[in-house]
Amino acid sequence: MVTDTKTREAPSFAVIDAIVHKHNAEPGSVIPILQEIQDEYGYVPVVAIDRIAKITGITNGEVYGTATFYNMFRLEPLGENLVKVCHGTACHLAGAERIAEAIALEVGAKEGETSADGKFTIEQVACLGCCSSAPALMINEEIYGRLTSESVRKVLKKCACGNGDGA
């Protein structure tokens, strides 16, 4: 179930070009193109931005503008596991900040950072749509709910040595 498509390889023109052409090099498809490139590498490498611009015929600035406008795109490489900590309304009321503190304590990375061992990148998101199980977070594509400062550390420990289901 975990879609771990993130390869550690250096970005290659062949891969990027194939993705752009899959979308017929349409300027209107910049967002899905960026999404696929991010799925491939875990982030959007700068060379990809240049390449997309070149093939689709729009300016570098426009592609860059689109990539930075949307919260989802990352211009930096990602750790092995992507942890999205929900800071939506329900999670905020249920103590999302404490969960973020507990995560920082466990893996040594704050929101927006990647842990020194490269295992976790921690991100902040607006809502995962599991508000009645607040506080919640998502690791890769798996959601964990009804967390406590203690259970979140357990989830991360388990994750650091393989992935499991449910909190």
Binding site: Q35, A90, L93, V125, G145
Partner: protein
Amino acid sequence: MSTANGSPVVKVGLSSCGVAAGGRGVYDALAAKLEDSKVSLMQTGCIGMCYKEPLVEVLMPGNERYLYGDVTPEKAERIIEEHLFKGQPVKDWLLMVEGNGSDIASPLEGQRRIVLRHCGIIDPESIDDYISVGGYGAIKKALGSMTQEQVIDEVIESGLRGRGGAGFSTGMKWRFAREAKGSPKYIICNADEGDPGAFMDRSVLESDPHSVLEGMLVAAYAIGADEGYIYCRAEYPLAVRRLKLAISLAQERGFLGESILGSDFSFDLKIREGAGAFVCGEETALMMSIEGKRGMPRSRPPFPAQSGLWGKPTSINNVETFANVSWIISNGAKEYNSLGTEKSKGTKVFALAGKVARGGLVEVPMGMTINDIVFKVGGGTSSDLAFKAVQMGGPSGGCVPASLADTQVDYDSLSSIGAIMGSGGMLVMDESTCMVDLAKFFLNFTQDESCGKCVPCRVGTKRMLEILERITDGKGHDDDIEKLEGLADSIKRASLCGLGQTAPNPALTTIKYFREEYEAHIKDKTCPAKKCPALITYEVLADVCTGCTKCTKFCPTGAIAGEKKQPHVIDDAKCVRCGLCMDVCKFNSINVF
């Protein structure tokens, strides 16, 4: 999905909330246990009772339904042993029994399920399941026996108003798009669900995706569109996966594609994943985003019905709106408009979350009071503290105090008290919620999500946030409330799109109904709900503390000291008020004052 061959069926709720609670482990345990039996095992979506996930339903021949909650893999095995193999339901874990004259009160009491009609009942990944409950009957009926005008008339007569927030008549919107010149025409489903606290669209997409596709088909037929888009937020990977599957199944069966059901109507659908920008839920920004640009709203008119996607006539509707449409066409406008109030017909789905006992999705007739939703349907607060307020409509919405909770939920009553229906997020708060912190939370959200195109929104929300920050830091000025009100007024009047026009609402309604809390922060430098870090102090209650040392291991700043088995002490200078110690203490020995 029924007990077709006379043997029982066991269903496990596997939408995101079920999975988050550990539903997959339960499913696997059941699968192992049922391997050689005649009992069939299937997945369903979410019935709405998220507070009791994982949920397992046992459906016995004769349509007896037994619903179990809080199921673990171990409990699942016992349910199979006792209920399915020995015929003895495990009474202690039952939430609901239907079809055998049981005396357990149904937790779904008070609800009227139209949008959620199939949620938690059918397998969302099976098109046959959807067809077996009458699915794709609406598009058959529309294509077979109704003109485009008749479809539009039916939807107008139903009184259905858009469920995405603004509440505009769905049928009228279709009429404008149908009458607009230009081709091709487009249908868009808005599944961006930006309100951080709402999840009905996710749940419907994960639990009953075909009903949304069918609603879109009906709309496309009515306005004469042959192409459509579903714009779904990327934080919903399971919804996206099930939608993709539903689209390919519908294509295989000829419900999507060329000459649908032998008619001359053709329609195809694409999914576009959002990329995490709240403003893209706004219709004009959403269309910019589909076109591959930065999602910035533009002023209207022209409305999308005249000039929408790529400048062509476009009708954009919300997920819940479409799920209603397929029901309305199948069951008739009269059946629908017999529910609700004079100007707000039908039902509304609410996402109950926060400090509520039965958090999850509920669907009630329009016009029910907030009190009834919170107490009768939602079971009251989840704590032993008193009900304080609900926030409706998220960052664009308002806060309704308990004293006004006898207000009916319909578009007009809610706007008369400064709140909005919004998309249906209903966040329940008890006495532990600080209203100034809540306003700060929303302003932080909106100023962060402001696309930056217009100054009142970009700069105004930032200024409001700064003031709220200094108030919660205990540095508020005497005239800050008036300053907030002044800023709010100009932002509302001068912003370009709905984001800015509504951004001040959470602050305005909390000022209106909880002014004394603002004053306590500003004048007395206290936070009555004991939430704002700068205004509170943590201490260890020496007579309760057992000296277990657990809190010391969780304190991120090493602010807690003490010998084993001796009461601990917090060094106030080092304490960052994160509350981790309170969270992990098993003896309730941490106090905040």
